[in-house]
């Protein structure tokens, strides 16, 4: 794999994790526009631990993600009461507060940024991606996963059959912020430097776009979306100055013509039979 391809694939892994972090929250029928804030907390915490205390990368990633998810719970409790658009605005307000906090917070560099974290490699990033994918795969098949499905379909019915809706929502919010925290830590240790400007609202928005376009009823959608959005800017390099216009236009058009996402719910439900069908054909 060429040095260039390695780089694209590595950052793709981080983007996939961010998409998964959004997907987790989508599983409870909420969309968070503030996951860049959790990414920032994970990034700064783990970077600070690695650089100032020499803590090895694996524990510092975990601690960073735990810090992010802890803040996630604190913020989640008030925000999860909100409905629809207000929840979205709340999460985006949170993301902006985090970003401007880090712009001012001198111990992690403030406006000068924070340099020094090293050690994220391609296998490490994909180790995490794989781990999360396995986790989501198991989650979708579990009883918990079915409870979430029910919640998504109709929250009132779900709560009337005894599901603790609040706890479920908080749980996925914790999961989402944890995932984003890991993504942030890996980003910091891969890019060697972070500053508050790396965690602006567009990062959160792109993660959501991955999920919605890849297909939001299964974690495979987040994966597919992450892949597409990492490759698209590279593929469009030849367009020179108009690159970003084409990129934005492609997104707008994709949303018009395939708003349900590439991998639809139908495909997911029938995936099992479809795969089985292939095996049957192969053996006959």
């Amino acid at each position: 794999m060429s040095v260039y391809t390695q780089g694209v694939v590595a950052l793709m892994g981080v983007n996939i994790l961010m998409a998964l972090s959004v997907y987790a929250i989508v599983m409870a029928d909420q969309v968070s526009l503030g996951n860049a804030g959790f990414m920032a907390i994970g990034a700064y915490t783990s970077a600070y631990l690695s650089v100032k205390f020499g803590i090895p990368i694996f524990p510092s990633l975990i601690i960073g993600a735990l810090a992010a998810s802890f803040i996630g719970i604190l913020i989640g409790i008030p925000i999860l009461r909100l409905e629809g658009l207000y929840f979205v605005m709340g999460t985006f307000g949170f993301g902006e507060v985090v970003r401007s906090f880090f712009m001012n917070f001198e111990p992690t560099g403030g406006a000068y940024g924070f340099r020094g974290p090293v050690g994220a490699t391609l296998p490490m990033i994909y180790g995490w991606v794989l781990a999360f994918m396995v986790f989501f795969w198991l989650l979708e098949r579990s009883r918990l996963g079915r409870s979430l499905d029910a919640l998504r379909d109709d929250a009132e019915v779900a709560s009337s059959i005894g599901l603790n809706v609040t706890l479920l929502k908080l749980g996925v919010f914790w999961l989402g912020s944890f995932t984003a925290g890991i993504a942030g830590g890996l980003y910091a240790h891969y890019m060697f430097y972070i500053e508050s400007g790396n965690f602006h609202i567009l990062v959160s928005a792109m993660a959501i776009l991955c999920v919605i376009l890849g297909g939001m009823y299964t974690f495979w959608g987040a994966l597919l979306g992450g892949v597409i959005f990492s490759i698209l800017p590279e593929v469009l390099r030849f367009m020179g100055g108009w690159r970003l216009s084409v990129y934005g236009s492609v997104l707008v058009l994709m949303m018009i013509f395939r708003p349900s996402g590439i991998i639809s719910r139908h495909m997911v439900r029938n995936a099992g039979e479809w795969v089985g069908g292939i095996f049957r054909k192969a053996s006959s």
Binding site: Y4, G7, E195, R243
Partner: protein
């Protein structure tokens, strides 16, 4: 000797001479291959699109000049430009593409300090030099030895000279400082460079360690100017980029302030004299190149730049070169000088050795004769002569 023997001897020596001539011809040039590849990493889209394009043109212009004179020992240079899109993720990929796919010997760029923060350490791991053409955030090259170089002056080298002239001209005894707190370079000028530089020349800093603050690209400065006016300083020191400086000074004049302003290099970007009119006359700053500089190399650069501009990123915003493309232009010539001095072979199998040779060359380059560059210092930052300037007659004019 018989006739047969003589003939044999003549034939033998002829064949020998021809064979030798043939072999010598293939050893004639020290550079292998059909072209020498160098890379450029600039913001062609995004926030820095205008300046990135100018830097690309400047780099290509240098390549044009060198190739017109026969290249390096007959082998032409080829420049690959990759866009950072003013975005660190893409910047990292652009660097990898240049180093890994195009396999360049050296890279000119990047522009922004925050881009350098992430591409410099990567360059150290890929072991290829980058000669940044802007980026004056203090300590950046020093933290990224040995492959990071910045062909630009850090602001602390400019401040002293400017302040000396500023104090003399306006009889300054006390100043107030107004600074950007979002852009790293401006912030360091306003908070780390100017205060001690003022104090070192016996000037009192009224704002102490709480300067009047704003954020890059703010749309209005009324609050800050009102505050500044109330302090009644003799002069104002700015930590700002050009466009913000323009608005700050304009607002100050609107609110009736008559005191002069000064800063270092960043305010010389953004056409302050042309856009500011009477309001900005008398402002002081420091740079290392002006279009008015009349040296032969400078004129050759301007000519080459203008010629290349006609076929590359043509437009009103790239027509006039400022000192960033000059840095890029000089950087290419530095690379070529390094190729010659260090006997770079350009053989594919010796790519890493060639890259390292260039790195060692740059690390020791002290007496380069460029348009506006003299080489690098021990931490990889550029060495240049400072020109103290003031705005007079709607343009920057050098003092003395």
């Amino acid at each position: 000797m018989g006739r047969k023997t003589t003939t044999a001897i003549i034939v033998f020596f002829s064949v020998l001479l021809c064979t030798l001539a043939f072999h010598t011809a293939s050893f004639a040039g020290p550079i292998a291959g059909k072209e020498i590849k160098i890379g450029g990493i600039f913001p062609i889209t995004g926030h820095g699109a205008n300046v990135g394009k100018r830097e690309a043109i400047g780099t290509q212009a240098a390549v044009d000049v060198i190739n017109a004179k026969g290249g390096v020992y007959g082998v032409p240079l080829k420049l690959f430009i990759e866009d950072t899109a003013s975005n660190p993720q893409e910047g990292v990929n652009a660097l990898r593409k240049l180093a890994g796919d195009h396999k360049v010997l050296a890279i000119v760029g990047p522009h922004y300090s925050s881009m350098g923060e992430t591409t410099f350490p990567l360059g150290n791991r890929l072991r290829v030099i980058q000669i940044a053409v802007a980026s004056s955030k203090p300590g950046l090259a020093a933290a990224n030895r040995p492959y990071a170089f910045r062909n630009t002056l850090t602001e602390d080298k400019v401040a002293g000279g400017v302040i000396r002239e500023f104090k003399k001209r306006y009889n300054i005894k006390k100043v107030a400082i107004m600074t950007d707190i979002k852009d790293a370079v401006s912030k360091s000028v306003g908070t780390q460079v100017l205060p001690p530089a003022f104090k070192a020349q016996g000037i009192e800093v009224i704002t102490g360690d709480k300067p009047v603050t704003f954020q890059t690209n703010d749309t209005q400065f009324k609050a800050q100017i009102t505050k500044l006016k109330a302090m009644n300083p003799d002069g104002i020191g700015l930590g700002a980029l050009g466009p913000d400086a323009l608005n700050i000074i304009t607002e100050a004049r609107r609110q009736g302030m008559k005191q002069p302003f000064m800063s270092t290099a960043p305010i010389m970007e953004g056409e302050l004299p042309e856009k500011g009119g009477k309001a900005v006359e008398g402002t002081f700053a420091g740079a290392y190149w002006l279009m008015a500089v009349a040296t032969g190399e400078s004129q050759e650069f301007i000519k080459a730049y203008k010629k290349r501009w006609e076929t590359m990123y043509t437009g009103p915003y790239t027509e006039k070169p400022d000192y960033y493309p000059v840095n890029a232009y000089d950087a290419v010539f530095m690379i070529v000088e390094g190729i010659k001095a260090m006997c770079v072979s350009n053989k594919p199998g010796e790519l890493q050795m060639d890259r390292d040779k260039l790195m060692y060359f740059m690390a020791g380059l002290r007496d380069f004769k460029g348009v506006a560059s003299r080489g690098f210092n021990c931490v990889g930052d550029g060495v240049k002569d400072v020109i103290v300037c003031e705005i007079k007659n709607a343009r920057w004019e050098a003092l003395r």
